[in-house]
Symmetry: C2
Subunit: 332 residues, 2 copies
DNA sequence: GTGAAAGCGCTAACAC
DNA sequence: GTGTTAGCGCTTTCAC
């Protein structure tokens, strides 16, 4: 491997000069610079980022801890984060938390060991007592995404309550009185807030929440399918269904179809989260679309600000959803 | 920041002993180990991975260069790769090549600078003359995925030719004679091989390829939608359509629906790549499903073998697709 | 405008 | 079973 010393020798300068031409950190005589650049070219020199990071104390690396399994938005989120980071000269290390604190700690521990300059975490349930304090203790800038947890750091999460409320109210407005809900993984704020939105819509109309109509889909396609199948097999089944995230929507749709029921004729349907194919589906899905792209970009923005030394009060950003009124609800 | 020296001092041992208990690299007296562990616990010591990497000459890091834009499988691929790597104690750095050599070089250059122990690349068109040689020159283990390029290194790619041929033949078997094809990004092997499969199916039946029925979808949803729209607006439109990847399938379906045409009644349809919702769609999509999961896992397997010093001849793995016979083709 | 030298925090001979 | 020591390849004061 060729080092900076090799380049320096060939160019007839000191290593520090090579370093400075590489980094533009001080004025270098044009002729000297040229000699250095020629030498670099000649030996095909490539700087060692590890040594650089050790000496400089910064790695220009950011870690992302997320659960791929329960987050079908994984792709677009990672994509948005990667792009924003890359534009700022950082690289992204991804780790899968499996939505479980033990693996989350393994992931974030490994990121911390690697001296990431900052971290973006979609916290698993229980994370506020384990992983998160561990991170903040190191002083590593941290921003939470997807789910909010109160640990006094920046976070950017989707609008949950109002969106779920709107979805439910829409069904209520169409005359439905028995509206079932498929709810996500227990213990995470998005599940809680969306479910609260559902409840608020009902009470706003003087309807009490019927526990029999509350299904725990655990943010899983399979679980949702099983549970919805059971519920809809009942003679006394609901006339409308709200699914609170994309994975469960697929399960719900499978169950409904498996039963030979038709949407919206036999059961009206609205869902939180949109799909690329929502418009292609028959019937087209009425949905609250989350803006993952923005969530990723904003998270990076906040993080970079912290990395660059900003220490204002923690910011809490809510990214609004878009209501796509199509016809699975029974309209149009 | 607390260092190994601090821990050593507190435990009353040398730094090297601390290093050895941390890494299990030599026998340490049980009592000594306990003292060290207590000291580590006491100060909340966490090893500095950067220093470690510099001294050890390995980073336990692998880079992945891929195009998220044209690869809707991004999520599952990254997920599979991350999991396999994580199981082996490695972390993953992802970079987006945008399917364009310039950004690809930026990405891989940055990965090389960071001294990744190995690299997985889904090469952009033209990569064999730029990026790839640059990587191999550094001696960094490299495995290609998704598209094969002949640079003498390991690769794992999907079955393309036979799958596309099967799809086309199926349509031909159903009596179609005017079968159009929506073809991917020019210059990459998957596009070429799949298109060859289409051509082979036709010639096998004595049909010559009609250039008017060959659409360039450029692996893009929008382009495919526009082009299919144009083609299908024609009075003399084809009676069947084959789309050669998932992004273009969505565009194709949008175009067909936009024209008020029905599948398979007005036009029969088969596609390369499957979706989670293929079974939910009306009609259910007949498709050749790629096994991205396996591609990712195999790629990591090959890479780790190289990283661990194996230098056998380059391996070329083809991962078979699964033919899902549903009813967009006109059957059932 | 340029160089010398002291680290950054760790690993791994090597010696005992 | 443990300590000493010499780097790993770079950045960055400090001096000239």
């Amino acid at each position: 491997m060729t080092t900076m010393g090799d380049v320096a020798r060939i160019a007839g300068v000191s290593a520090s000069t090579v370093s400075h031409v590489l980094n533009g950190t001080r004025n270098v005589n044009a002729a000297t610079r040229l000699r250095v650049e020629a030498a670099i070219e000649e030996v095909g020199y490539r700087r060692n980022g590890v040594a650089r990071s050790l000496a400089a104390g910064r790695t220009h690396t950011v870690g992302l801890s997320i659960s791929a399994l329960t987050n079908p938005y994984f792709g677009s989120l990672v994509h948005a984060v990667e792009r924003a980071l890359s534009d700022a000269g950082y690289v992204l290390i991804v780790g899968d938390s499996h939505d479980e604190v033990t693996s989350e700690q393994r992931v974030t521990g490994s990121l911390l060991d690697r001296q990431v300059d900052g971290m973006i975490v979609a916290p698993a349930a229980g994370s506020e007592h384990t992983t998160l304090p561990e991170i903040t203790r190191t002083g590593t800038p941290l921003v939470l995404i997807d789910r909010g947890v109160d640990v006094g750091c920046d976070r950017v999460v989707p609008e949950n309550f109002a969106s779920a409320k709107t979805l439910t109210e829409h069904l209520l407005d169409l005359g439905h009185r028995r509206v079932a809900v498929v709810r996500g993984l227990a213990g995470i704020t998005s599940t809680i807030e969306r479910f609260d939105g559902y409840c608020a819509a009902l009470s706003g109309r003087g309807i009490t929440v019927d526990p029999a109509l509350v299904i725990d889909g655990e943010s899983s396609t399979d679980v949702a399918e099983r549970q919805v199948h059971a519920l809809m097999s009942d003679a006394d089944r609901p006339t409308a269904l709200v699914s609170l995230n994309n994975a469960m929507t697929i399960g719900t749709l499978k169950a409904v179809r498996g039963l030979g029921l038709s949407i919206p004729h036999d059961v009206a349907f609205c869902c939180y989260d949109d799909f690329e194919w929502s418009d292609l589906f028959e019937p087209r899905l009425t949905a609250a679309a989350q803006d993952v792209e923005t969530i990723g970009v904003k998270a990076v923005e906040l993080l970079l600000r912290r990395i660059h030394g900003d220490d204002d009060a923690a910011q809490h950003i809510r990214v609004p959803t878009t209501f796509h009124h199509r016809n699975s609800c029974g309209c149009g």
